[in-house]
Amino acid sequence: MADFIFFHSYLILFFPLLSFAVIGLGHIHSDNRFVAKLAITLSSLSMGYALLTTLAYLIRLPHLPERTMLAYNVAWLNFSPGLTANLGMYLDPISVMMLVVVTVISLLVNIYSVGYMKDDRSFNRFFALLALFSFSMLGLVTSGNILQMFVFWELVGVSSYSLIGFWYEKPSAVAASKKAFIITRFADAFFLLGIILVSFYSQSFSFQTLNSPETAVLLNRTVVIAGFPLNLLTLATLLIFTGGWGKSAMFPLHVWLPDAMEGPTPVSSIIHSATMVVAGVYLTARMFPLFAASESTLFFIQCIGAFTALFAAVIAITQMDIKRILAFSTLSQLGYMIFSLGAAKVCAEGGHHGPVVNLLGYSAAMYHVFTHAFFKCMLFLGAGAVIHAVHSNDILKMGGLKKLMPRTYWSLLVACLAIGGIFPFSGFWSKDMILLASLQSGHYVTFLVGLITGGLTAFYMFRFFFLIFHGEARSQLHHVHEDPWMTWPIMALTVPTIFAGLLEHTFVEQVLPPHLSEASHFAHPAWLPWLATLVAIAGIGGAWVLYGAGKTEKATALKKAFGSLHTIVQDKFYIDEVYLFVTHKIIFARIAAPIKWFDRHVVDGAMNLCGWLLQLGGRIVRLVQSGQLHFYLGATVVGLIALLFMGQ
């Protein structure tokens, strides 16, 4: 039975693809209700099969070596006898977890979108693209080799591009989608280089080979590039990580993510929770055994993650746009996941089963991906419901929505408590695990950063919450109501947000990378959860004091006290401006413009000269054909006489 289920596990991907093809090719102008039904049905089927596969996997789990299996595996591209790329369905703890997360969230977002998009004239196109997005992400998480993953990786990029720019009449949406695509593509170029590098040395694309200790040994050599001696393993892993760096929007490649808010809110929701941004974290986790072989790569990942976590949290405090606050909060949470992965500490080299690693950071990162997906999806869906009701993104124009939108209010309260890390909601458990992992890694600075970020997170999330729901309405509100299509998915998400904490032990014990033996866990200091909760409560308390009444007077006074510091943070440390300066003033003006001149004048000039010379020749030869009959006849006679004389 289980074999039968595994054999047909491609159906998980097939249903969204079918949905995309049928709606996109056949029903783009059909009745909206029919399309919605079709999309939701196929999405449910995909989710149902994903859950079935999960069940079969859990039954099979005790018999699986390294907890991984290939549900099926067919040869796809035969490059050479030694190098073949397969098309497979890779099941291991993290891919199974992601299957559940992606399909569940995709279904809920589909249901929600029926309410959110009901007045949009591109309703059907939206559902087609959403299905493509789910398909790409499901393909990404189940890829059995890095090349297949790269294909789906790019598909995720393309579908997010078309969804961010969904309202293509809006110039800002078009700019945002281009920005997202170009930045992630830029990072993907390095990812591809990394793929080439590792597959060249290991002669394989499959994750099983790439993650094996032998590959790490093969790659562990020093090469000299432009005079710099580099460890090939570190270089390759950093190149691969760069792909995840762009996709997961780590500093300084984070600039696309806040702008991606131009897309419809359900898209933001699915991008921020289950697809796209977690792809980078997922890639890092997928290649973790190889990454773990290089201590400097792990340390680098940890630093980047910790910095992004703090950096984004600081910016989130000052933002006024409801979706931008959430975008920066996602950045901050992604930073958590990345630095948690980096915090899995290499304890010893060698051994029978490769390097010995303390894997708590890995489990913690995956656990946080899991919990974050649900509460962040919920926050975005809730924000979407608020935007739909108020028709504005500015939190200063909201306020007093508690009475008007009670269901959204209570659901978002749960989500904010979860992301703030309050016991017993899911965020508390995953954040606690991440903090513990960073404490164990011995890099106390990152632990401190994680702790402070936790407090800031609680502060800005409750600032967001109080400003939207508490106090009096700060603008005229008409016909505020809750659409059941939108409130039910939000309320359904409270279930995993509240109860995901129960899975903590499962994650610690089962969600582990292959090919690594585990070091004994360090003691869990009893003060850690108390400290984390204390910091979170301090954050919430701060938000309550400043914004609890739904008023902004106290905050405005504080803002004045900070003066230009506040402006710098609110303008996001001018990173966008730096990008604009670098691209326009340096790349466009100093590099692109001379190249353009060379192309226009030298390359085009040479081509034009060739054409001009040929034309000139043609013009001369054309004189012979005068159209005068006598000229032809005379030439014939002269030619004949000349031939006669030549014959003699």
Partner: protein, 101 residues
């Protein structure tokens, strides 16, 4: 009358034809000149057949062929000239130069 006389006559006719072909401005005149050239060639065939060939009939066949072919040629050429005249109302070759490059 010897072979030389005949060759001289045919040469004379050819020269008249070529001169006419190069100097006439009227298409019909050029057509007539071409016919004169052909007749010069015919006389040449006939003369050589008469004076030199073992079997005179074999040589005399060629002028007959040439006449038949030139009759066809005239039919086609006249048709072209007539239709051209209908279109242009003139047959001056100096002015008919649409086919220049």
């Amino acid at each position: 009358m010897t072979l030389s006389h005949c060759i001289a006559l045919s040469l004379f006719l050819c020269a008249i034809g070529i001169f006419g072909m190069l100097t006439r401005r009227n298409l019909l005149g050029i057509l007539l000149s071409v016919e004169i050239i052909l007749n010069g060639a015919n006389i040449n065939f006939a003369a050589f057949a008469h004076f030199r060939a073992a079997d005179p009939v074999a040589g005399a066949v060629f002028p007959v062929f040439v006449m038949a072919v030139s009759a066809c040629e005239i039919a086609v050429a006249l048709a072209i000239i007539i239709s051209m005249y209908r279109r242009k109302k003139r047959l001056d070759v100096y002015r008919l130069e649409e086919l220049h490059g």
